[in-house]
């Protein structure tokens, strides 16, 4: 069995009195899209920085492609790409030159075909020979992504890659990330757009105050912790809650609406509707909303029902 792409063990980072990473352990396999979620200052960027060589860890072990970075801090980095959170650009060079430089840093000779491909994928072809200082904010963000990917890394870190960008780039990037997964690239993503994580990630990790609270398959997590909210409006007021719905159901004081929260172990929302019909309720309107990753994240952060990783 091949070594995990990334294996972090009991990683600690302290800044004087502040513990930014508090014994984080995490394993990520080949071709996986992993979303690291958490509030600002939770430790997401510090964790990525410790893996990518931007942060000096206090203790713990980081292995990339099976190689301990304490033993060989350079070799594994040939296969890593990073889109940093902060947009940066070198004003002395054009977009194309920036990509050539990036290829060179990673020990790759100039590859014009690859540069053309990545420019096309990120809709930068028209800007290829423009000085980077003349690019708009969105275009600079695209260039940042192109630089992280041009050397075909096996592991890519995207630290809030779509922060402050338009919908079009977000959609383009999502499509490109899916393509990367098909090609076997592993992607670690941090984002504040939770629909992004829900849409893309095979697994999510929730981190807060430097501690990894939970790591779980995205769909399994939603099924386990997610809930469905059912709201039923009645023409004729309902005198009381039907039997068996007292747990999870709340009837409005005027009897004209009912809210029911479906969770694991409770009757399904469709079953509730069936009972209401059977009881002769005068149903006028029905609304349902499935909970999303955002709700689950808030639940875990507030300690409602997170499982340890």
């Amino acid at each position: 069995m091949s070594a995990p792409v990334l294996d972090v063990e009991r990683l600690v980072k302290r800044y004087r009195d502040l513990v930014a990473l508090d014994g984080v352990s995490l394993t990520i396999g080949t071709g996986e899209i992993f979303a690291l979620l958490g509030p600002n200052g939770a430790g997401k960027t510090t964790l990525i920085g410790a893996v990518c060589g931007l942060v000096r860890k206090t203790s713990g072990t980081v292995r990339l492609f099976g190689t301990d970075l304490d033993v060989d801090p350079i070799g594994p980095r040939f296969q890593v790409g990073l889109v940093p959170q902060e947009v940066n650009f070198d004003p002395f060079f054009t977009v194309r030159e920036s990509l050539r430089i990036q290829l060179g840093y990673y020990g790759r000779p100039p590859d014009e075909a690859r540069i053309a491909e990545i420019l096309e994928a990120l809709d930068l072809t028209a800007k290829a020979d423009v000085q980077t200082r003349a690019l708009s904010g969105g275009m600079r963000r695209r260039l940042l992504i192109a630089k992280a990917l041009v050397h075909r890394p096996r592991l890519v870190f995207l630290d809030e890659p779509t922060a402050g960008v338009d919908v079009e780039l977000r959609r383009d990037l999502w499509a490109y990330v899916r393509r990367l997964r098909q090609e076997g690239t592993t992607v670690v993503l941090t984002t504040h757009y939770l629909e992004e994580a829900e849409e893309l990630a095979d697994r999510v990790g929730i981190i807060n105050e430097g501690r990894l609270l939970l790591v779980e398959d995205t769909q399994a997590l939603l099924a386990r912790m997610g809930e469905r909210r059912l709201r039923v409006s009645f023409g004729e007021p309902l005198p009381r809650l039907p039997e068996g719905l007292t747990e999870g159901g709340t009837l409005a004081e005027d009897g004209r609406s009912l809210i029911y929260i479906e969770r694991a172990g409770r009757p399904r929302a469709s079953e509730v509707l069936g009972r209401l019909y059977a009881g002769g309720a005068d149903i006028q309107d029905v609304e349902t909303r499935a909970s999303r990753l955002e709700d689950v994240l808030l639940d875990v952060l507030h300690g409602r029902s997170g499982a340890p990783s």
Partner: protein
């Protein structure tokens, strides 16, 4: 060793300063040449010979040293410091570049700029003095050694500095006074005590005199002294810089 990575950084550094030649080459060339014209041509006729040399050729090695050392220092210090400010230093830190590749890439680029300015200053001087090159090997060694040492020192300054004010500290408050008091325009043997003795603690004196030996064939100190000092400074500065880069001093959190 990531040779291609090193070469990429080196070429990038050279192209960076060549993109703004007016600022990085022409401007220092003009200011150094002005020293030559003012001190050498205007005042030189009224000066006696210095250590057996007419004044005009006497100041040429010092002025070459001045342009070379300043520009080597400024190139590496400004380049890395600007990368820190702009955030592009992240590209270097994440890339598979070790401390050796980063050090040599920056230093190589800075040496090229220092040597270009130094050699162009020499070319301007040739118009007035004609070619004097007594010891080509020693001249080459002092030019290359000086550019190397000041490039490495510039890189250390860039790592240490966190504000623009700090990056200007070394050139303004350390290099400029030491160079001017380092025998560029006079021989330190002409100074009265205690300034003569004080000057002997200024390392620039030995570097300027070493270059003077190479170009003019005469020096008030044995050239090996200057050579040994340069070698010691190069070794010390390289060790410190390598260790700082390996640790990520003020580059990594």
């Amino acid at each position: 060793m990531n040779w291609l990575g090193f070469r990429t950084l080196l070429v990038k550094e050279i192209r960076r300063f060549l993109r703004v030649p007016g600022q990085t080459v022409l401007s220092p060339l003009i200011s150094t040449s002005l020293y030559f014209v003012v001190f050498g041509v205007s005042l030189g006729g009224r000066m006696e010979q210095v250590t057996g040399q007419p004044y005009l050729p006497f100041i040429v090695p010092g002025l070459i040293f001045l342009g070379l050392a300043n520009n080597a220092f400024l190139n590496s210090s400004s380049s890395l410091f600007i990368m820190k400010i702009q955030g592009t230093v992240v590209d270097l830190l994440v890339a598979p570049l070790g401390p050796g590749e980063i050090l040599l890439g920056f230093v190589g680029g800075a040496m090229v700029r220092g040597l270009i300015v130094g050699l162009l200053t020499w070319a301007v001087a040739l118009l007035f003095t004609g070619l004097q090159l007594a010891h080509p090997g020693a001249t080459f060694a002092f030019l290359v050694g000086t550019s190397y040492v000041f490039s490495v020192l510039g890189l250390i300054a860039a790592m240490w500095a966190e504000k623009f004010e700090q990056i200007n500290f070394f050139p303004t408050f350390v290099m400029f006074p030491l160079t001017f008091l380092g025998g560029v325009f006079y021989s330190v043997h002409q100074l009265p005590e205690p300034w003569h003795t004080v000057s002997l603690f200024n390392p620039m004196v030995y570097m300027v005199e070493g270059l003077r030996y190479g170009m003019l064939g005469s020096s008030i100190f044995r050239p090996l002294l200057g050579g040994a000092l340069l070698a010691a400074l190069a070794a010390a500065a390289t060790s410190v810089n390598y260790a700082l880069l390996a640790r990520g001093y003020k580059l990594k959190q």
